[in-house]
Symmetry: C2
Subunit: 416 residues, 2 copies
């Protein structure tokens, strides 16, 4: 397949929320309690909520910056591409990378609305979650419904409330919801408990996919405090190996056999080894441990229920015969440090070279469309949805990589 | 290659220490402080040391038992194969599995002599380590030097003392020493510190390989306390992915370019993904993080310095073109639950089927012999060292899988 003929749907990108997320979306009594966007004295953009200050570090919004300027320092809106927070600009950035559709995870709230989990007033926190989801569905994904897979966040502290929210979201056309890769790590019952059953039931009832993103357990896998950034990045997929393990061995998939789970930003190259390993383990343990997988191998359970995704993963694609190609999806990870934007098609094409066209179509968009009930072809004919056609729309769009060292307002003030 | 023509050297097996380890090997003043072997009222064999009781759980010595009897309950000597603790019986068990050579990790002391790390009298603890090592070198490996790769344990709390011990061990022909996969996790400085430099220097000077076994960080990777045994097993290789990460990004290999590190029981199927991932990370971080790998890629550093091993790993062998085949070794893991004993050659042959003979020879024994300076062919001609030849020696040796439910003395007493 030619690069220009690829159709790309990304199941993992990120929105840096604009200041007006909660405006006009909250009951009057909660308006003053809403997270507030502020510009700090040093120019950094922050959110204040629940006595906490939440910054957006540069590694989380580096698309378009030179790699020398990646790092952990807090950013301001002026330093990041408008595509991070402005949905019209985002669509143009997507087109510049040939991307048709995108599912966007939240930023300042944490992937599962972590900031709301800790709030003592649970009704108020639930109202914040609903307001956030309304913003995401109406103002973000809803601004260009043919270009986004909507994604909600749950009330993690309350599976019944989450179930109600999942049903409400599904009514609005949203069939994906974030979920923690390890709820135990954020102070909630583990996947081995039955605490989550009402939530899983609502997901099955509405064909909604819980998406576990790396980092959604709020725990970094790191060996020691003096480990460098590279160590944290090297180990970041491990949270999702843990999540895959819990999903496999927990009773949840036996109780809810229609449930599908997505591992977001987990990569795929580790999966063949993992599947061989869990089958080997089960062969040794099932005789004494009492583990019941309903007569199936752990690898079969994984391949049926788990939706996988990758950014750039030659080893995983080479080994796709060990996985379920029907559950394999692709992600751009815009605007995070791992993104391949804007050269995503060229990067991807290198690893797709030996793959038949029907499998390429599944991996690049078909599986994502089916699992998340996203049908862009209803309004955009396929020939207008390709990398080539989309890029043609934005030939004048500025995607030059440029330094942002001069763009911070306070930095400018310092210079004067 | 025919199964009978394989030559097998295992770099990871385990000795269950017999009661007399410390007898006659300690200065008089420390004799009474030595770990003491006891039989508990319920029949379990235990060691007592430093106010602690250390049991050997059944999962650690199940070779020859039916899988239904695997589990966590403490064992007694009567329940485990004599090959666990009797070196002459071990050699016969090795021969029954066609295994020429074996490197045996300690059991009750912890892989890195963890029980001695916590002891307040450091001189006494060092004497215990030396006594243990003398027993291992003289009474265990030394009983059949042509059949064992000797392995010492260090004084983990004292890199200078460890360096002295490494030199002493090397004088006695031992070129392997255990080391924790994460010293920080056991209360010591991490691999990123320069604390360990005297130890690494001694390893380089004596061509000794530090061997990091899974579990040697004394931390289980587990998502929640209610996770089942299968979860712990599924995630057990992750300690070594962490160790590989630390070895890669720490300055130790730049400071000691001759150093080689072995990841014991780490498996190999995850390595191609890991190497692709660390190169991807480095491409993104080196521009801002200051990480210096001396002009090489992380994958190149790993492939040069890290000795890998596997029990049964079809995915890893299929993907060996992504790894350094010259650093790939095999293990039997006798007598632990993951072992393929006594059908190791048949199990291994399934995954070696498409591999050229020269690579099979490297993987099954050549690499282990070179890295650990083990030369069995000096006394055993190769044609007498094969699976076929070794098995021929023990045609009458009893390797039947049998229940041990009746063998515990107290259980027998209960029945009477």
């Amino acid at each position: 397949m030619e690069i220009g003929d690829l159709v790309l749907v990304s199941v993992d990108d990120h929105v840096v929320e604009p200041p007006d997320v909660f405006e006009g979306r909250l009951p009057k009594k909660y308006v003053d309690a809403a997270p507030a966007f502020e510009v700090r004295a040093d120019g950094a953009s922050v959110w204040r909520y629940d006595d906490k200050e939440i910054v957006n570090v540069a590694l989380n919004a580096v698309a378009g910056r030179p790699k020398e300027e990646y790092g952990f320092e807090p950013t301001c809106m002026e330093e990041i591409r408008p595509g991070c927070y402005d949905v019209d600009a985002r669509v143009k950035d997507m087109e510049a990378a040939g991307v048709l559709g995108s599912m966007c995870f939240p930023s300042f709230t944490g992937y599962v609305g972590r900031i709301f989990v800790q709030r003592s007033d649970r009704d108020e926190a639930a109202a914040m979650v609903r307001a956030y989801n309304d913003w995401h569905l109406d103002a973000w994904a809803g601004a260009h419904p043919e270009r986004f897979i909507p994604l909600g966040i749950p009330m993690m502290w309350d599976p019944e409330a989450s179930a109600t929210e999942v049903r409400r979201l599904a009514e609005k056309g949203c069939h994906a919801v974030t979920f923690s890769s390890n709820p135990y790590a954020i102070g909630l019952p583990s996947l081995y408990s039955d605490f989550w059953d009402p939530f899983w039931a609502a997901c099955v009832e509405t064909a909604t996919v819980p998406c576990m993103h790396i980092g959604s357990s709020s725990t970094d896998v790191v060996s020691s405090p003096d480990a460098p950034a590279e160590s944290i990045y090297s180990l970041s997929p491990i949270n999702l190996i843990e999540a895959a393990t819990d999903v496999l061995w927990s009773p949840m998939l036996r109780k809810f056999p229609e449930l599908r789970i997505a591992l977001s930003e987990g990569g795929i190259g580790w999966i063949p080894y993992f599947l061989e390993r869990v089958d080997y383990i089960f062969d040794h343990t099932q005789h004494w441990s009492g583990m019941d997988l309903g007569g199936r191998l752990p690898s079969e359970v994984f391949n049926e229920h788990v939706i996988t995704c990758f950014i750039d993963d030659a080893v995983g694609l080479e080994n796709r015969h060990h996985m379920n190609v029907d559950n394999m999806t692709w992600e751009l990870d815009y605007p995070h440090a791992d993104t391949t934007w804007p050269a995503a098609p060229e990067t991807l094409a290198r690893t797709l070279a030996d793959i038949p066209d029907d499998e390429i179509d599944k991996i690049t968009h078909g599986n994502a469309m089916r699992h998340f009930q996203y049908d862009p072809f209803a309004t955009i004919p396929r020939e207008q949805a390709t990398v080539g056609a989309l890029r043609q729309r934005v030939v004048d769009w500025d995607i030059e990589i440029r330094s942002v060292a001069d763009l911070r307002p306070m930095a400018a003030a310092d210079r004067s």
